[in-house]
Subunit: 197 residues, 4 copies
DNA sequence: GATGAATGAGTCTTCATTCAT
DNA sequence: GATGAATGAAGACTCATTCAT
């Protein structure tokens, strides 16, 4: 089986995922029917069920795929910047996520406020990107500014920051509440710096 | 304590709201049909449409009713404690919300992470409880620890704290992630104190 | 609520049952779709589900209704004949069933060979016709020709005779196997007389 | 003992039949899909259509194969016992069928009550086992206790007895109605003896 | 106001069958 | 021969909404 036939095999699968992603963005997961997805993907309905159990199955897989993207992307951004200070690294990481959401409003719409750390963690735990994830985790969990804190405590704080970030992104980017993301960024990052110091 | 308290007139209307609330808690808003609601409320289907436009209408009204409760309840708690320090008042306010959610897990399930300030504000703007809300807002927006900040900035921070609170409550109370709410409370309040100082 | 509006209420229900019965006869239960039934009944699909859980539900109700008919009809036939001898009564009872099936080939098609006593018994146990059923049971279970047999034994024999009757009817009426019912009747009744003597 | 014994060639064909048999037993013919069959048989869907026209085709072939087994098995049992009396032979024949069904409840489930003589006869008419069948027919049709009866009449009685046997087996073995097969056997054989004498 | 029978469009899901590889 | 991806018609079931009583 050649690499070409292999990719051809998953062509339909890919087009279904892409179509589903687009439908979800336009109408929300809930208001999207299998019918719309297969019509947009130009495949038969049966083909959908050949590759996915149901609508939830596709959305989960899209979700995993997107989450991987956000985190991996953020990690690479931060590494590229060759920062040395812990606070700078963390802010850069958060900023990378914020910017990703700003550029992918529609993904934010899908995730709503539910972009939290354990989700990502559990989803990615068996993925090959794990190595990259573990690296950034190692860096983020070693806060030299708070040497007395246990690793667990630091994780809980980090978790909360990610949750804060997701929630603020959703409100400010999607609804400009309490103001737009450009004005919220300094406020958010100021809060994070205070928390971590 | 009935989840939805209101005047005694319109008994049918009340029983529909109560039934809807219970159905939403059991199966989620989405998986609840008008049929289930009217059966639980022991009214005819047509009666539902006398009082509400559609399912979304009931859920919105329940939402408003619940949000009012959380905020009003928190306000009264704080006032009862006769605290004087700004940080203590804010923490007490947040704690009151956290405790409310802990006692009303199911309401938290409904709100998910979407318990944010503007939601409450816009919903309550014409309500008679407004007076109480304005009072607590006045107190919370006058942070003596950060005299240089504009009122808008303080509101944005406060907004973020409420969002953080909602998100952490959801994760820790509903999913014990990253740990249970009892362990998260000191972490959360520590973060809030740092942010506000 | 007048008797007329009452009957009007069940008008749709009745037309669905009638349509289902006809469809089942033409194509068999299995090859009949809900769509066909509602089209024949000239009602909306939802109306079907308003009155019945699913296709099986209608078929069960038709079944019960038909079974009641067979038994009640047989009982009345026998009573009308004012017979005195046990064998004559039993044969008359069986003959009434056979004749019913002969006139209602299509019902026989539905029942296939599954026309057995306990089925009828359990189905009718709470019905008002019970009284009639109990009367004929009393007569049939008191076989003066076999005084030594226990009531259980007599019931088992009677049960077997009914089963034999159903199976032979199906073969001879529907498939003329091994010959037609007119030729099978003396053979069948001869066998039954021998069994009971 | 594999339920479907045949030559070793066409291994795929055999594994499909075996898989189909197992699926039919578990879920009934109707609720079994080609998909399930080919998955259990570990062959591709296309392979199924190489060997069989459709699901009905397999089930027919399995049916024939099973029916042959019952009859041939009964014949050999009876011959092995070297009985001389007509009644003993007939009862032994019936008993062999009953015992077969008792050991193969699942086959009984497939046949339901439809185990009657003409079915077997027509199905087997061109089979090589015919010779054995004709032998046993010859014996069973020569009832010395009823010398006056025509051959047709005797066949009709025999046919009825087989039908009675199938029906009673189904009720008592599958549903223990009116009682279990062990208690029904003497009742059944008693009835048969009376019929044939 | 209150009822609940009736509607029928909309959705999910299954499955026998085909066919290019 | 063997494969299994792809098809799409067909069927079951739901449910918001209307309306005559």
């Amino acid at each position: 089986m050649s690499a070409i036939s292999q990719s051809q095999k998953n062509q339909k699968r890919q087009s279904i995922m892409q179509a589903a992603y687009e439908c979800f963005l336009h109408n929300g997961i809930h208001k999207t029917s299998i019918d719309e997805i297969v019509k947009r993907a130009n495949v038969a309905k049966g083909t959908f069920y050949h590759y996915f159990k149901d609508k939830n199955d596709v959305s989960q897989q899209i979700f995993v795929s997107l989450s991987k993207k956000v985190i991996t992307n953020a990690y690479r951004e931060v590494r590229r910047q060759q920062l040395t200070d812990y606070l700078d690294i963390t802010i850069a990481f958060v900023d990378s996520i914020v910017e990703f959401f700003r550029r992918n409003k529609l993904m934010l719409k899908l995730l709503e406020r539910n972009f939290s750390w354990p989700l990502i963690e559990s989803r990615l735990s068996q993925a090959p990107e794990d190595e990259e994830l573990r690296e950034i985790m190692e860096i983020l969990l070693n806060n030299p500014y708070q040497p007395g804190r246990s690793r667990d405590e630091v994780f809980q704080i980090l978790f909360s920051i990610i949750a804060l970030c997701g929630s603020v992104c959703y409100s400010s980017i999607m609804q400009s509440e309490p103001t737009d993301i450009d004005h919220m960024k300094p406020v958010l990052y100021g809060m994070i710096r205070k928390i971590l110091q």
